[in-house]
Symmetry: D2
Subunit: 351 residues, 4 copies
Amino acid sequence: MTISSKSIDVGVLGATGTVGQQLIALLDGHPWFNLTWLAASHRSERRRYADATKWRLPTSRPEQVADMIVNACAPPGAPKLIFSGLDASVAGDVEATFAEAGHTIISNANNHRMEADVPLLVPEINRNHLELLTQQTTQRGWSGRIVTNPNCSTIILTMALAPLLSLGLRAVNVTTLQAISGAGYPGLASLDIVGNVIPFISGEEEKIESETKKVFGSLKDGSVEPHGVAISAHTARVPVINGHTMMISVGLNCPASIDDLLGNFREFSGPPKVTTLPTAPKNPVIYLDQPDRPQPRLDVDRDRGMTVTVGRLRPCPLLDFKFVALGHNTIRGAAGAAVLNAELMCADGLF
Amino acid sequence: MTISSKSIDVGVLGATGTVGQQLIALLDGHPWFNLTWLAASHRSERRRYADATKWRLPTSRPEQVADMIVNACAPPGAPKLIFSGLDASVAGDVEATFAEAGHTIISNANNHRMEADVPLLVPEINRNHLELLTQQTTQRGWSGRIVTNPNCSTIILTMALAPLLSLGLRAVNVTTLQAISGAGYPGLASLDIVGNVIPFISGEEEKIESETKKVFGSLKDGSVEPHGVAISAHTARVPVINGHTMMISVGLNCPASIDDLLGNFREFSGPPKVTTLPTAPKNPVIYLDQPDRPQPRLDVDRDRGMTVTVGRLRPCPLLDFKFVALGHNTIRGAAGAAVLNAELMCADGLF
Amino acid sequence: MTISSKSIDVGVLGATGTVGQQLIALLDGHPWFNLTWLAASHRSERRRYADATKWRLPTSRPEQVADMIVNACAPPGAPKLIFSGLDASVAGDVEATFAEAGHTIISNANNHRMEADVPLLVPEINRNHLELLTQQTTQRGWSGRIVTNPNCSTIILTMALAPLLSLGLRAVNVTTLQAISGAGYPGLASLDIVGNVIPFISGEEEKIESETKKVFGSLKDGSVEPHGVAISAHTARVPVINGHTMMISVGLNCPASIDDLLGNFREFSGPPKVTTLPTAPKNPVIYLDQPDRPQPRLDVDRDRGMTVTVGRLRPCPLLDFKFVALGHNTIRGAAGAAVLNAELMCADGLF
Amino acid sequence: MTISSKSIDVGVLGATGTVGQQLIALLDGHPWFNLTWLAASHRSERRRYADATKWRLPTSRPEQVADMIVNACAPPGAPKLIFSGLDASVAGDVEATFAEAGHTIISNANNHRMEADVPLLVPEINRNHLELLTQQTTQRGWSGRIVTNPNCSTIILTMALAPLLSLGLRAVNVTTLQAISGAGYPGLASLDIVGNVIPFISGEEEKIESETKKVFGSLKDGSVEPHGVAISAHTARVPVINGHTMMISVGLNCPASIDDLLGNFREFSGPPKVTTLPTAPKNPVIYLDQPDRPQPRLDVDRDRGMTVTVGRLRPCPLLDFKFVALGHNTIRGAAGAAVLNAELMCADGLF
């Protein structure tokens, strides 16, 4: 993996939106990637990025993008490696158009996630799913390809569960307490969430239930056989800016003790090729011993928002064990996940 | 039940605290009860109530209590019917002393809840548990007695589950998103909860798991045989003022459809003797059809905070069904529960 | 004032919006007014109110309106007395059309507020401004008329200042900490205001500065001569649901002591004809002695949200005195103000 | 200023508290200072720092302090340069004892701030006030000395006003919207501030009014002649974690235009010796052009929390101009201020 500094030109689709802004922030100063191209909807087209965008992150807008001109969401002139932070209402067709035109699309949108020949990639977990790209190329006749990351909740959940996979994951019940940044901008009306809880996020429970099985699935005959875990998700929105907190119960096929699980959490790591990627966290999962952790305010930014923290492991009277997990929904759960996916593809020589 | 107006003198133990203030607010204008006596810790003793107490409810402090003198927590001079909003650190002994001295204690504290001869009463659910008082009197040789209401989360949970009891409640997984008022005052530090979630409430999960089984238990040979339901609770604190929201999954022994459960929720009612009590809600459980309800901000005050609202009933991939419930933790879950318990005892001729 | 029960039919323009919903809630059970007609934008036209509206108030939607059909915003079929909760983007023309067609419009919109022949009415303060209606009728040739209430902040501010008018109000500096409900729905994005302060509300400072002078102005030759007070407003949005808090400094022309001002606050009342109106608060202004009051959570709902609370009166090193005021922005500051205006007109025989 | 790396040993008094933790976080990795000594109250004495302290910052507790043993608050064994994050209830005597024993105390407590021979230092503004130390040494006969930084609000306010000093600052009206972290831990009860505003902070207005005059004062005959500005402060607490927002009106002696003030804000800088200190922000004051800025969530962390941001400059109908300012209360307003003060003293050869 001797990728020379800033040697890979990249672009961002949906550059003015929430995920797009976070992508731009993460690509600023990236050792391999050189952001050269931005695109967004017609409203922003041909405008200076600084004029077209109300920057909403607490970190400053990178200097270099201020004067870049926002392009239309069309392939001509775009670099080969493209991050897509597009909204699902338009991502499906635009991403396919780019892939057909020879671009590698690293997408955060949900449109192509569950298609049989599209990797739903979490590098620490299912790096081998990139083999689906062979099918994708063959079947679609595209010169490019699409790789997706799961929904923010699914990424955080699968990272928290991955250390337990070897114990035979049989059943999962998860309740998510999700941050408002997950809804994009403007997202939720303040009157709906200040001092309140909304116990409903449209489509979220279904995504968690289906995507988790694909992420944990096995490659078989050129497609993914979903993992057999039974999974039920409850999702709620809470007045937190960043960080999805999850209350998780698990049933395991193998007999195991609290210490076994603690050991698994503490020893979990991705494959060496992943852990050395620029955006990879030193520890993808960290177990916290304090009885009241993890908490969004104190733990969400660990390792630049790329680490999933876990705590409160204890027996479950109904399944086998229960615990709490937390992850940064717009970094580990979205933009950071996409950047890590792109890094892995470059390191694997797939780009 | 021909109880004449304001004919029953009552007192409040722990009158300056959070539950005590809520009790005083609910007793103001009560048709049967006449608040004549207040008691609190040494710090407040012999002071005017208005001087001893920083009133923290949005409703005004009832005029009549301002000039009442706060008594010591000792029986002399106290009326026979006493509400206890004492903190668990002192409630155990004080309540026993009053009961021994001939007072009827309606307690919100957890000290005596799980004792074999003490009713853990939710009038709509287990009114017959009052029969334990016979045992209590015999065994303890007290001329008075103690009746308790469950923990706030348990009350709301059991109310939400009660309509499903007839379907054979086999398993329950519940995650609570609890309001900060449940922690009393000063309770949580603001730095800990503003824009945050704390996934831990000391002792709460154990209380929910054990108290629920007692509330739903059967009387047998003078004590309560706990209900056999397997129950697992996850508890979290969220930045909501009032209202515990619960994400609930249930497993049932009987085959049942969504429509069966909806019917049960809609038809649920307490026994007629309960539903006509002054503090009883018109409908103890209300099912809301909107997909994003119940929510604390919109639903917590229904029927003066005494109704538990339920919604989002849907199949559960792991157990059988899942849904959301909400109740007012300091009214239905504490002070209102105690007042309703007292009303039932009066109506039943037990006082 | 012998108005018989429910004898006056009224309608609501903008019935599906935030102010419209609050108007409907306040008109429910009103002793004089009988709500018979609702209108809203094209999107809602001809639909059942319950279908056209997502009810967003914590109090239940009044039963009677559920099945009412939403009309177009046009006069035919509308009752003579109309409340307008229309958005400023459309209120100007629609209200004029109704007034021309003979309707009395009680408007919360800002479009006509500063017109010379339109009363900007706060019944406790400038009841005599209703005399402008003579000019309005003459000049415009309308058979109906328009009466407006000030902006929410202006109403609360003028109520808090009214007791000091007799001391020669010379200068006012006010900083408002405004609740999010003042921005309507969806209003502010939650990401903008959760755990945050936004020190800008478009147009608000100008409205406060100009409207206050008109409210306090004197009738002269058929128009209002603005009050000469110098006034500077700073406005900020804070994450509070209901209740605008105001930090006010005043300069007075007359020598006065703290006790003089306290006396004025405590003795302030509207004219008897106003204080006996159904929606009038018992005390339009209440001074609270506690050092940390008023606060939105504890004081905003006093007297059904119609009372303005004041506290912390102390000397100002720059002007003469400073103090804090609070009022309910959607009740005293909007819907309740409109209802009170309508009541006054009926009592004054102007309708 | 050729101070060699980590060459100066420092200690922290009140190391377990809120300010102490922030001091430790800022000293971690400091180029000059080497943290070798921690002290706190009796409760923590002789315990490992990690055991004695519940770390409450979102950034991780520096590794190096975990095993340090917490000392008593007494001079023996302490390094010569000591930061004091002690609570005002104990800071007065403890700091004097250390100064008498030859230590240089950089204090954040308010006890000694207004004493005539104690510098109330803001390096960018009144670096020359360090000359008071000559008096202090002479008068007190101490071998050490005490230097203080102002109250958090005063620092932010004086930084925002400093660029206007040359225009003849005549009058200031300021309303602060203060973050909850300013109250320490546990500080405000969550029930008091979630969804609420508290328009009172004990002693805060007096501190702002008196300290500002001292910070801006002139040295004369060995003491500080207070600046003649007339200043009035209103203070409120809002549910924001970090960042005090201030709504400021100013009256100036010199005729000046908006452009003059904008120029002053944009060109403001501290003396070169200050701007090159390790903790000094690149720009101590930044003017933001967007109409709705600064805001805590977006701007509080600029330049590691050391920059004060200003915006919304506009004419004031009452005084001359009004604008908004924002600063990080626990960094620029407390721990960062103390570290900057210590750096200046080292650079000035005063330590």
